[in-house]
Amino acid sequence: MASALLLACALLPGARAESPVEKGLAIATEMHRRDSGWGDQRADMVMILRNRQGQESRREIRVVTLEVADDGDKSLTIFDHPPDVKGTAFLSHTHPLMPDDQWLYLPALKRVKRIASVHKSGPFMGSEFAYEDLTSQEVEKYRYRWLRDEVLDGRETMVLERVPAYEHSGYTRQVVWVDRIMWQPLKVEYYDRKQTLLKTLELGEYRQYLDRYWRALRMHMRNHQTGKSTQLEWRDLAFRTGLDERDFDHSALRRVR
C-alpha cells in the first residue's frame, strides 16, 4: 500500500518534490508489480562463454521457476551440457534479505548437498554471470536511488542506482537502465568492491508473454577487467505449466534427469 502511494506521488504532476531515493524505490516497486502473477515458468537456456582470445565454450541448461508471493522465487536448474555435468541440478529458494537456501544434486553419487550462501557471488558454470545475477530480483534486495532519465539507443529509460542490501554480494552497486514502456532493464553496470566497473549486462530481444510479462531472450555480459564475455539465449519459454511447491522441495532433486 505504501509503495502504491509512493508510486502515485511519482506519477502525479505537481506532487511534492520527491527525493531521488523515493523515486528510485517507486520505480523498483512498479517494476516488480508489473512482473507479478506469472505463476511458474519453464525455459531452456544456451550460454556461449568467450575468453579474451575468442575461444568459445557452450553450456545448456533447463530452468523451472516458481513465483512465491511474499518471498523470493524458487528455481530448479538442470545442466545438460557439457556432458560431464549432465544431470547435475541446482535448487534455489531465494529470499529478499535472508540468505538463499541452495542445494546441489550430484548425479554420480545421487547426493544432495547444501551450498553455503556466500557462493551467490561466484561465477555460474564458469561464465561471466554470477549466481546473484540470475536469481530473482525482489524489491527488498537493494536500496535504490534514481539518477536521471536518459535516452538509450533510441529508447526512453530511467536510470537507477541500486546497492545490494543482502549479505555476500560481490558488488558495491549496480546502475540499471529501465525501459519506460516495458518497465524492464535494458542495461546493467556492475561495480566491484573497489568501486570500479566490473561488468556490463545488455538485455535484448524482449518478448511479451501472457499479454503482460516481458522477458529478454538474449543477454550479453561483458567483463571489462578480464575481457571475457558470456552470451545467454533463452528458448521455449512456457508459463503457468502447473508446477507447485513440491516440485521445488529438495527431495525433488532425486528424480532429476
Binding site: D84, K110, V112, S117, V118, R255, R257
Partner: protein, 405 residues
Amino acid sequence: MPAAPARSGGPAVRCLAAAAALLVAGTAQALELGGYLGLEARGFLHRPAFAGQRHDDLSLLARPELWHVTEDGRHTVAITPFLRADSADGRRSHFDLREALYLRAEDRWELRVGVDTVFWGAAESRHLVDVINQTDLVENVDGEDKLGQPMVALALKRDFGVVDLYLLPGFRERTFPGRRGRLRTDPVVDTDAARYESGAGRGHVDLAVRWSRTFGAFDVGLAHFMGTGREPTLLPTRDAAGGAVLVPRYEQVHQSSVDLQGATGAWLWKLEALHRSGQGSAHVAWVAGFEYTLARVAGTAMDLGLLAEHLLDGRGAGAPQRFENDLFLGARLALNDVHGSSLLAGVIHDLDGEGSVFSLEASRRVGERWRLELEALAFNGITSRDPLRALDRDDHVLLRLLRYF
C-alpha cells in the same frame, strides 16, 4: 578376464533387472545417453608388500547411462551398467548394474522399483550413515563408490516431511581386492567364503525407513535400518590350502542414524551419527564438522573451502575400520573457471597417534567432452595393530581420463 562376477542377488533381482531392461527396450526410440568411457593408470611409490602385487596397473572403465522420461515426467526408466577391466587384479575387474530402475513420480509420492543408489549423509571424510548400498571398495578406499542395490522404495511427501520406505531384497557383498591387488588387507579377504548370521544368507530381505525435512537453513534426516549389515566383520581363519585369510561375516544389525546439514553464511555444518547393535556389542559413531568458504579468495574468482571433521567410532581399537578417534582437515579449491577445475586436499589424522592418511583429488574438463582426474593417497605411520597396516606400502598416484557421451 578372471573377474569376480558381481553377484546380483537372487531371482527377485534378476526379475527386476529384466523388467527394467524390457521397459528400456520398449522406449528405445526416445532414449537419452549419458555416462563415460575411461582409462585409468595407477602407480605405486613403494615396493609391493606381497608376492604377485605390481608396481602399477591400468584399467578400462565404462559407465554408460541410458534413460527415458515420459513427456509428463511421471515415468522414468534408467539403466546404468558399470564395468572395470583391470590389468593387475582379477578381483578389481568387475561388472555391476549401478542402476536398472523404473521410477513413478506423482505429486505426493514416488515409487522406485529395480536397482538404484541412495545416498544418506552430509560429511566429507566418511560416509557413515549411508547404509542402503554396499561399498564398492575395489573402486576406491574412500568408500564413495557403491554397488547397485535391488529395491522397492516408496517416498511419501507430506507436510511434516518426506518419509522413505525401503524394501531391500538381494544382499550385495562388499568388494575387496584380490591377493595380487594393492590396497589390500593382510591377510587377504576371501570373498568366496563369506558367512552370514541369517540362515537366509544373501536372500535376507532388509528394511529401512527414513524421515527427512528442511527447517530453514538446515536439512535433517532420521533413519532406521534393519537387516544384513553392510560392513562385514573380518574373521582371521585358514583357507582350504591352509593359508591365512580373512573371511567376511555379515551380521544382522539394527542401525538408527541422524544426519544433518546446514548453511549459515560462509559456514556449512555437517553431522552424521549412528547407533548400531547386532555386530558385537552395541556402539555409537559419529562424524561432525564444518566447511568454511572463503569466496572469491584473494581477488580471484576462486572459492576456498576449509574443512574440519571429527570422526569417532565407539568400537575403539576393535573397529573394523580406522576411524576410532580421528580428525579430518581439508581444503577444497574451486577455480570457477571454464574448465570446472577443482582440487580437494585432506588428511585424516589419528588422534591416538596411529598414523595419518593424506589424500588429494584434482580434476578439470578438457575440451567439451573429456575430463582429466588426478588422485593421490599416502599413508604415514599406520601402526601394526591397525587393520589396514598393510596399506603403509601403498602410497600411490592415479590418473584418470574420461570421455563423456
